[in-house]
Structure formats: structure tokens, C-alpha cells
């Protein structure tokens, strides 16, 4: 059963071949055993999962099932779950049990899905390797057979590793600069970052509010569509959520790709992209040509400024978003503070990890008097130039394709000494968040036994088209079905 997709499991449950309780037990058993090696989960909610599975079986028996009723999955530990620890990978929230649900959490509850636990992540979603988690690094299941401990990418590395290792068929994730697509690529799974505003951010612990977007991770594009059907939609509790109809994302998966116009941004096929990686990505694009798509080179002239703009805007927003973690009302408080200032400064020095503190300090600096114009305002202007690049590109093409990452999964510890080296991991993904457009990463081959991701970028609200393109590709390739040994 663990190799089946959400769609398949849903059919099994519907046919009555297996109950949700049985299915949940199987997945929990496997999860508890396999995750000792991977550390992809921070919390496993066994009791709650079994209770939910039981309730799901009753729902199904009562004829009130949705496609998700009784299907196991997991939440990235950034989504608040009522009564279940929500840590954001941080010591600051290690003891934090929210008395409320994120809207995304609530949506999966309503759909009857069975959450097995909370997946590991870079602290406060700041990172590209899931090594900055207070709960220890997650290991990429790929590479283990060669005796190597490689990173799963990040920040949603726990979700990606868990899905790749078949511990869950699907997991939620979030993406601020590549945090869904990069780990999906490095773990050989399929992930989607929707248009900004498509999925509610309520109860999703904020990193950078104008960039954060909740999204999906599963092995198949079809399962991503099933997830998005549950997650997408207007939420009155999120002022930046968009009131716009949500299509059935599964309905258009089988549209033919004949005539699809694909743009290849030339800036995304240069630099530190290895020849082996490029060959795999170009191979995938040839598959699209066989499916009837046309290929055209396009240019995103300001692409090289994306990382610079991002590392002003994201830390600036984060510096304010993370001010609430002050030891006063919830979360970590340092021992025996001698006065208020001592409580603030020690709580935050001890509760946050190195990378989080670095970003808060950079963001504070960029917003401080004398630097605001040169950094923050300038970055916002560059952000518009980057957005304009995409708007121009989509005048001529339907989707853009590129590698998701410049290289496959790297060895743990390799990039932790220099933050900037780590930042460059997101060189092909970060501009998409600045523009707010949707993008996917789809398994597209292997280099040295490690997965390679193809990034498919779309115009605003084109999730259905991206899922369609990914699904059609997965009908003629089996990269997404490969299983790490």
C-alpha cells in the first residue's frame, strides 16, 4: 500500500478493500520504523491519527466521503494544528501547542484526511537543507544506499523526504524562495507552489509575508491536484487571500499538450548549472516536444538580481514577523530573566538558531535609518522589474521551464559554513516568489543516482495548466515512480 498514490488509496478505500484504520496502522508502522534513519518527522500523532481514521471509516460508511476521507498524509510543522505541537523547527516553539488550526489544517480536517504528524523543516522555513531544524537534520532517502547522508533540500525537507521514502503519500509544504520546489527536486517528488494568495496563510507561521505560500507535495501531479483542491480558496481570515473561483484541478489533467508554448529562460541555463543536470532537463523538454509542445528561448533580464532582492525583502519582513517571539505570551522564555530587556535578548538569543538570527539582523539592518532607501526600497523596485520580466515572457509563451536547482542533493554539512553558498541553492526558484506566480518541480531524471527536478513556471493562477503539463509528462515518464533503496 505504501507505494500507492493518494488517488489510488482513495479508490482502495472507496472499494472497501481496506479501511482507513488498517491503512493508517500500516503507514504508522512503516513511519515509526523508517523515520529513525531519516528524521523527517518532528511529531508523530499516532493516537489522533487512529481516531481520525476511525471517524473517516464511519464517514465513508455513512456515504459522506470526499476523495481524501481516510487517506493518510502529513503537515509541515509550520501549519498550526489545534492541540498538536507546532514548532516551526525551532527551540522557540518547541513547547508550543496552538489552541487553533491553520485554515489549511482545517480544510484537510473537513475533507476527512488523516494526519500522521508534523514534518521536519529548516527553522522558521529559513534554509535550503533542513539542517537548521532544532530537532536535527533530515536525511535525503536518496544517497543512503551509497552510504551517504545527503540533504533533502529545504525548508520543506521533512515533507519531501517523507513522501520520497513512502512514509506518507502526500504532505503539505510552504515555499518562500523555493522551499517546496527545491526539496521536491532533491528528493525526486512532485511539488507545487501556487500563486501568492491562492492558499490561505492563516495559521501558517510567517517567515516573509509577501512571499510565503502554502503548497503541495506528493509523488504524482494528480495527487498535487487533489491536495490543491483541498487547500486552495478564499479565506476571510487572510487579507491577502484572493477571492477567486477554485477550479477542480483534477478535471483538466488529461488535456492534450498539443500547441503548448514553452519558454526556456536563457538565464536559467547558465552559471553553475552542471552539464549533467542540463542534459537531464533538456531531455525532459524533448519529451514535451514529443507531446506536441513548441519550444522558444526567452529572456528574464533581471534574473541575476533576484537573490539580492530576496535577501533584503525576506529578512526585512522576517525581522518584524519574528518580533512576536519575545517570551511573554507563549513559547520559549529564558531562565530567570533579571529584567525585561534581559528576558527579550536572552530569550531570542537562546530560542532562535544561527541562521534565523542572521536573517533577523540583516532585515533589521536593511530597514534601519539610513539604509532603508538603499536596501529595502531599492529591493522593492527591483522586485517590480523581476515581475515585469515574467509578465513580458508570458506574452509569448504559456509556461516557462528550467532546472529547479543548479545541482542535485549535496552532502550534509557541505554548505552550512557559508550562508551565501546555501542561498545560491535557490537561484532558479527565488524570482518566482518575488513575482508571486505559481511553479512546480517535477522529477525529470537522475545524475549520479540523485534526482533532478524540472521546474515549470506559469502565469498568475495557472495552477491547472501546470498540473496538466506535469501530469501529461508523468504519463510518458516514470521518474516520479522511482523509489530510493
Amino acid at each position: 500500500m505504501h507505494n500507492k498514490s493518494v488517488a489510488e488509496l482513495s479508490r482502495e478505500l472507496e472499494s472497501g478493500k481496506i479501511s482507513s484504520v488498517e491503512l493508517t496502522r500500516q503507514f504508522l508502522g512503516r513511519l515509526k520504523k523508517e523515520d529513525e534513519q531519516l528524521n523527517s518527522f518532528i511529531t508523530i500523532t499516532e493516537e489522533q491519527a487512529l481516531a481520525d481514521a476511525h471517524a473517516a471509516d464511519e464517514q465513508r460508511a455513512a456515504g459522506k466521503a470526499t476523495p481524501w476521507t481516510g487517506v493518510p498524509f502529513a503537515h509541515k510543522d509550520i501549519f498550526c494544528t489545534n492541540g498538536v505541537a507546532t514548532t516551526c523547527g525551532s527551540k522557540m516553539l518547541a513547547n508550543f501547542v496552538p489552541p487553533y488550526d491553520a485554515t489549511v489544517t482545517e480544510n484537510f480536517r473537513k475533507a476527512g484526511a488523516v494526519c500522521l504528524g508534523k514534518t521536519n523543516m529548516d527553522e522558521f522555513a529559513m534554509g535550503s537543507s533542513t539542517e537548521s531544524s532544532f530537532f536535527g537534520a533530515t536525511t535525503n532517502p536518496w544517497g543512503l544506499s551509497q552510504g551517504e547522508k545527503r540533504v533533502p533540500g529545504g525548508s520543506s525537507g521533512g515533507s519531501a523526504a517523507a513522501v520520497a521514502a513512502r512514509l506518507v503519500p502526500a504532505a503539505t509544504a510552504t515555499d518562500t524562495g523555493g522551499s517546496i520546489r527545491q526539496p521536491a527536486a532533491l528528493c525526486g517528488v512532485t511539488g507545487l507552489k501556487p500563486t501568492y494568495g491562492r492558499v490561505s496563510r492563516y495559521g501558517m507561521i510567517a517567515f516573509a509575508s509577501s512571499l510565503d505560500q502554502g503548497g503541495t507535495m506528493a509523488r504524482t501531479a494528480e495527487d498535487n491536484a487533489l491536495m490543491l483542491n483541498v487547500m486552495a480558496g478564499f479565506d476571510p481570515k487572510d487579507s491577502t487571500s484572493i477571492d477567486r473561483d477554485v477550479p477542480d484541478y483534477t478535471a483538466t489533467l488529461n488535456e492534450p499538450l498539443e500547441g503548448l508554448r514553452i519558454g526556456l529562460p536563457k538565464e536559467y541555463f547558465t552559471g553553475n548549472l552542471s552539464a549533467a543536470m542540463e542534459e537531464q532537463v533538456r531531455g525532459a523538454i524533448r519529451e514535451y516536444e514529443k507531446l506536441g509542445a513548441t519550444i522558444k528561448e526567452v529572456s528574464l533580464p533581471h534574473a541575476d538580481l533576484a537573490i539580492a532582492a530576496y535577501y533584503v525583502i525576506a529578512p526585512a519582513e522576517a525581522s518584524a514577523n519574528l518580533s512576536r517571539f519575545d517570551g511573554a505570551r507563549y513559547g520559549y522564555r529564558c531562565e530567570d530573566p533579571k529584567d525585561l530587556l534581559d528576558m527579550y535578548t536572552r530569550t531570542r538569543a537562546e530560542g532562535f538558531g544561527t541562521e534565523v538570527k542572521r536573517r533577523i539582523l540583516v532585515g533589521t539592518y536593511a530597514l534601519s535609518a539610513g539604509y532603508f532607501d538603499a536596501y529595502y526600497l531599492k529591493a522593492q523596485k527591483v522586485r517590480r522589474l523581476i515581475q515585469q520580466d515574467f509578465i513580458n515572457a508570458f506574452k509569448d509563451v504559456d509556461v516557462l521551464m528550467s532546472p529547479t536547482t543548479p545541482s542535485p542533493a549535496f552532502i550534509q554539512g557541505e554548505k552550512t559554513s557559508d550562508p551565501v553558498t546555501m542561498y545560491l541553492e535557490d537561484v532558479f526558484t527565488i524570482a518566482i516568489n518575488l513575482a508571486g506566480i505559481p511553479a512546480m518541480s517535477v522529477p525529470a531524471g537522475f545524475v549520479d543516482g540523485l534526482p533532478v527536478g524540472l521546474q515549470i513556471i506559469g502565469d498568475y493562477f495557472s495552477e491547472a495548466r501546470l498540473l496538466n503539463a506535469a501530469h501529461q509528462f508523468q504519463q510518458v515518464t516514470d521518474w516520479h515512480q522511482r523509489e530510493p533503496q
Partner: protein, 95 residues
Amino acid sequence: MTISRTDIEKVAVLARIRVDEEQVSALEKDLGNILDLVDQLSAADTDSVAPMAHPLDAVQRLRADEVTENNEREAFQAIAPATENGLYLVPRVIE
């Protein structure tokens, strides 16, 4: 762009993060590297470009003035570090 020790100390005070003496050198290097990366921005010609605060060109929705929240003090204070008589307790401000 280099960032001075004084800058780091100033920013750490603003951000309310205690930075110990031995951490300053590492921060000087790391933040300096990040700012070097960020300094690429100065190359961009943005003279006639409007700053973009938000990805979508949308307008704020407003909520009706109706009470939707109940008293949930018990649930919220159950996860608080220190409370008494319904108040959150924090150390005093020493001026």
C-alpha cells in the same frame, strides 16, 4: 559592503537579540558576505520604477464590525510562560 562591530551591536539591540562578544566576528563576516550579495542591487537602474510591496495588484477587503471572538483566555494562558489573575507576567522594565 562591510558592516562594522558598532553596526552589529546597534542592530542586535534593535532586534533584542543578545550577541556575545565572541559571536561578533563571525557575524561581521557572515553579514558582510550577505550584504556583498545584496549590494548587486545598486547596479539596477530603477529610476522610474515604483516599489512593489505586494505581488498582486489587489485592494484590501474590509470586515463588518461584528464580534466574532469569544473569551478563550484559559486556552491561551495554558500555554503561557507565566500568568496570574488572568494577566501575563513579565519581568519589570528597569530604566
